[in-house]
Assembly symmetry: C2
Homo-oligomer: 405 residues x 2
């Protein structure tokens, strides 16, 4: 076999994807309690599913090629949606590109901005896709540590010192994966001011913008000075519980979206037609989305966030957590326990999987500052199984220490 | 607005995609005769559509995340499919990755192989995605001219001179877009021998493998020495007429597919679940695919290929063509007419669109050797409209020359 790309050795396989693959092959799935994935656990809105079925009654249209930028109908529906929920005033549908989930938005968005050697400020910990995509593009990740003690909010004084003349962009996730942080409005504003002063881009990852339980989502592109320097990455995966349909979108200045479209044509040619048709119908269906978010998504996930938080306090009192204000995750600092059982966060995650059938994601995969942490998804299991999972973690620690409750 | 990537200025927007966008906005679509796109004109197999509908009865499963490599069920069904149609003997489903159409296969496949500076031999003309993807990756395209006089078959003596110590791969499309060439078996064999001698990869683009009207498809990876150095890019877009569902796959050595999977997780995370479920059902449905290909695809497209060829001979006798043996296209040399009307192939295509409502794609977008050519899709229009379109082209030339028929 001839040699392959030298770059391959440096690109990591996502631990989350690896865990999904392991889960898919697992025999007794019921025994496994998964706090691992980032998948919604609610079924998709019935109105959306009905629109999918309806669209298949005109199969030729439903499976035909569309434009690389996505259907005009869907982009117009999104213009209205952003206006309604975020008071985002776009010039028009050309400010939007439809993508294969948020993932393609991240790749095409960063590709449109970056040249090799450019610096991009990312938080540490952060979503594990960012460091890998930056490596693929030959850009340099400059990491800004955030801590559980501050609710994973960034320290602006530290951030300012990370800016250099090579800074091309800053990536901001809110609500955040893996920490559940919702950025404080005054910090968002300070970040925008910094970007204006030093003329860099903000890549705003809004995949979780509709799953906020406390506080409110800051629509960064609407802040003064932000519009012309912000690409916002969005996804329907979480807000409509359709991750397997790979439907997302990004919005920003037309020139940036033009650039993303250039790359998208060679990444995937165009977004999927059927899902786009159905999404137009869903978004145009008066109140279907409001109803789904306010009656299903928010109450279900908020309740589970509270449950997991309470069980962690009860069963694992030495774990340091901050209550997530949005997204799907606790990013728990287990330092005290890990010291006692003499395991790294990775070994601990492996042990929980192998000995207790509990899946958590080792914090280190989200950055060096994720050391001693585990990411635990709270949306995937109902209350009783959340308790059972947390209890098993506690049991593991106690058994390891030779204690018996 | 901060500066964007410097690379953007060098990346071309696909003329075909631009034409699609223009077509989508056109008012009186019936007046327009399109020989432009590469879309199948048949509806998808009814069995496949039914499987899509069935899958939506279990919506949670249909829209959930799957593995980055694609579902095991579908990869196993493809193992059987390749065995049945091509006597391709894969070790197993790990030799396959499911992709968002052939497009993602091309991107991830080349990315897994190439480092900046590597040389890749491509034919000229060739599918316009390849030169752009090579530019994106910083690899060097080494072009091998092919000519209508030789039925667009490559000259092996010329090819040998293109190989250098930097040659990392050769891209072979058969049946070819844009020329309709089906590679001759002895040439395919000679290419594999050359790849073995100089230890380079073959990227075999088999998007049109099931639309062969004359001769037979050569399954390159089954030739002696080829398996360990061939990545084969496939798509369901043409063979099942579902281009808008973005479903394709690639197969090759496990190490190469592992490499593709690494990149795919950051390009799109995973393939679309619903379409995968339906495709398993379709492939497993005894004879549904056989029936669709033999009763619909081959006879319809062959008849249209014959029609267009005959009308070109009748109305445009000075155009030099070779009858396509597969795929969807005539790649016609209009040199004699273009000299007379004093237009470039690009200006001619623009004129036909604006003055005659006929869409053809300027040959130059497929490479320098596409100068004086136009690509004309024969599958998109029925017989009468093919005649009308060719007649309009002839009328345009005659009117331009002041002749009246």
């Amino acid at each position: 076999m001839p040699r392959m790309s030298r770059q391959l050795a440096n690109i990591k396989t996502s631990a989350i994807r690896r865990t999904s693959a392991w889960l898919a092959l697992a025999k007794d799935k019921k025994e496994i309690i998964s706090f691992g994935g980032g998948a919604p656990s609610l079924p998709p809105p019935p109105e959306f599913v009905q629109k999918m079925k309806d669209a298949l009654n005109d199969p030729w249209r439903a499976v035909s090629y569309g434009g690389t930028r996505g259907s005009l109908d869907l982009r117009e529906a999104i213009v209205r949606d952003l206006q309604k929920y975020g008071k985002v005033e776009l010039e028009g549908p050309d400010n939007i590109i439809i993508t294969h989930g948020g993932t393609e938005g991240i790749f095409a968005g960063l590709k449109a901005l970056l040249d090799p050697g450019d610096e991009v400020i990312i938080f540490d910990p952060t979503y594990l896709g960012y460091p890998e995509v930056l490596k693929i593009m030959g850009a340099k990740a400059v990491t800004l540590p955030v801590y559980v003690e501050n609710g994973f909010q960034p320290d602006m004084e530290v951030l300012k010192k990370k800016v250099s003349k090579h800074t091309k962009a800053l990536v901001l996730l809110s609500p955040d994966n893996p920490t559940g942080r919702v950025i404080r409005p005054e910090i968002a504003k300070a970040i925008v001011d910094l970007a204006c002063d030093h003329d860099f881009w903000i890549v705003c990852d809004d995949a979780y913008k509709h799953t906020v339980f406390e506080g409110t989502h800051t629509w960064v592109s609407t802040l003064p000075g932000a519009e012309e320097r912000t690409i916002t990455i969005c996804s329907f995966s979480k807000e409509a519980s359709i991750p397997g349909l790979r439907l997302g979108y990004s919005y920003g200045p037309i020139e940036a979206i033009d650039g993303m479209e250039k790359y998208a044509q060679y990444l995937s040619l165009c977004p999927e037609t059927l899902a786009q048709i159905a999404m137009v119908g869903y978004l145009d269906d008066q109140n279907a989305k409001d109803r789904y978010l306010s009656e299903q998504v928010i109450p279900t996930y908020k309740e589970r966030a509270d449950s997991m938080g309470n069980y962690i306090q009860d069963y694992l009192p030495e774990a340091r957590i901050t209550r997530p204000q949005g997204a799907f995750y606790y990013f728990a600092n287990f330092e005290s326990y890990l010291d006692e059982v003499r395991l790294s966060e990775e070994e601990f995650a492996d042990e929980l999987r192998l000995k207790k059938n509990v899946i958590v994601i080792s914090g280190i995969v989200f950055g060096q500052n994720g050391k001693n942490h585990e990411r635990m998804t709270f949306v995937s299991e109902p209350d009783k199984r959340i308790e059972e999972g947390i209890k098993r973690i506690s049991d593991y620690i106690n058994e390891k220490l030779g204690k018996r409750n």
